[in-house]
């Protein structure tokens, strides 16, 4: 016989994600899920952010990588709490991995928890990890058509950081084109051109973070 089911296949992950969201809401912690291709500058952005805002916020990082704890060591060098998850081949983090990693994080007094996802523009977009917002990064060396090729991620992100703007003179990356594609399905996405090398543009990103922390505290 035919049995109608109609159940979301990712419901188990979504359920844990909802539990995490509740936990983070109780602690009033802003949680951001950072997603990009390998090498776009997620860890570099975190190193800058954790250093520059160290006096303002208490921050922690969960690092997802296929293997090695290089990124966790890089961000821990800024003084922030950092936990490494090795996904052992899996191309994305899921909620149960975050749940496990939280055992090693002291949530009390925390203002922001960053989750650096595995470098990949496709899979992480499908798996929530209890975040308030997805933050996508795109570096100018990757081509301005990425939001067109990977529409789901950019449609679901609250922020698109366009990183490595110091390299703009050497590549033909059309900032307006990248922004137009990102806005096609997401009019309100905040777009911040930044360079982790020269530090240009980071101020606007920090102001966005300040706003969102304030909102979370007053929620």
């Amino acid at each position: 016989m035919e049995v109608p089911v109609v159940r979301n296949i990712l419901e188990a992950n979504d359920r844990i994600s909802a539990q995490l969201r509740k936990l983070f809401a109780q602690h009033r912690i802003l949680v951001l899920n950072l997603i990009s291709s390998p090498g776009s500058g997620k860890t570099s952005t975190l190193e800058r952010t954790l250093t520059d805002l160290a006096g303002e916020f208490k921050m922690a990082v969960i690092e997802g990588d296929l293997r090695t704890d290089n990124d966790a060591r890089r961000v821990a060098a800024t003084g922030a709490q950092a936990v490494q998850i090795n996904t052992d081949g899996a191309c994305h983090l899921d909620s149960s991995m975050i749940q496990e990693a939280l055992e090693a994080i002291d949530l009390s007094g925390l203002d922001i928890l960053f989750v650096e996802n595995v470098g990949n523009l496709v899979c992480p977009a499908e798996f929530e990890v209890g975040e308030d917002y997805k933050v996508s990064l795109l570096s100018v060396t990757e081509g301005d058509d990425k939001p067109e090729k990977y529409p789901l991620l950019f449609a679901e992100s609250a922020v698109m950081l366009l990183n490595k703007t110091d390299l703009l003179p050497y590549v033909d990356f059309d900032m307006a084109r990248a922004e137009r594609f990102a806005r096609a399905l997401n009019k309100d996405i905040a777009v911040f051109p930044v360079s982790c090398r020269s530090r240009e543009g980071l101020g606007a990103w920090y102001d966005w973070l300040r706003d969102k922390v304030r909102e979370k505290k007053n929620a």
Binding site: R7, E148, A184, L185
Partner: protein, 116 residues
């Protein structure tokens, strides 16, 4: 390759549904996926096969149905399906190109199973 995680979740849901309805032999499974969800059907079939090998679910073929993308224009609220390969086409009625709402196309669900 998130199809392996999807296949594992799928198997868990199928087992639950079969138990709930007192069914023991699975014949068919139908999965619906939105075109925005970036699912690779061949990869899911392969992963499902790998996950069910040596279990009572072994040998069942997945039937996959894709769901077209439907957008609502941010200006005039016209609903339209962008043409294949032209996701970012402007609204066919008013020409607006920005901020369309995705009404359909992100789904990923188990639609039904056939079993006895």
């Amino acid at each position: 390759m998130h199809e392996m995680s999807i296949a594992q979740s799928l198997v868990a849901i199928i087992k639950e549904e079969m138990e709930k309805h007192g069914l023991t032999r699975l014949h068919a499974v139908r999965v619906c996926h939105g075109r925005l969800a970036a699912l690779v059907p061949e990869a899911l079939s392969f992963a499902f096969e790998a996950c069910t090998l040596g279990t009572p679910l072994e040998g069942v073929q997945l039937e996959m149905q894709d769901i077209p993308i439907v957008l609502r224009c941010s200006q005039c609220a016209t609903e339209f399906s962008p043409e294949e390969g032209d996701l970012f086409m402007p609204c066919p009625k008013c020409g607006e190109g920005l901020g369309h709402e995705v009404l359909q196309g992100k789904e990923l669900y188990l639609d039904n199973i056939e079993a006895e």
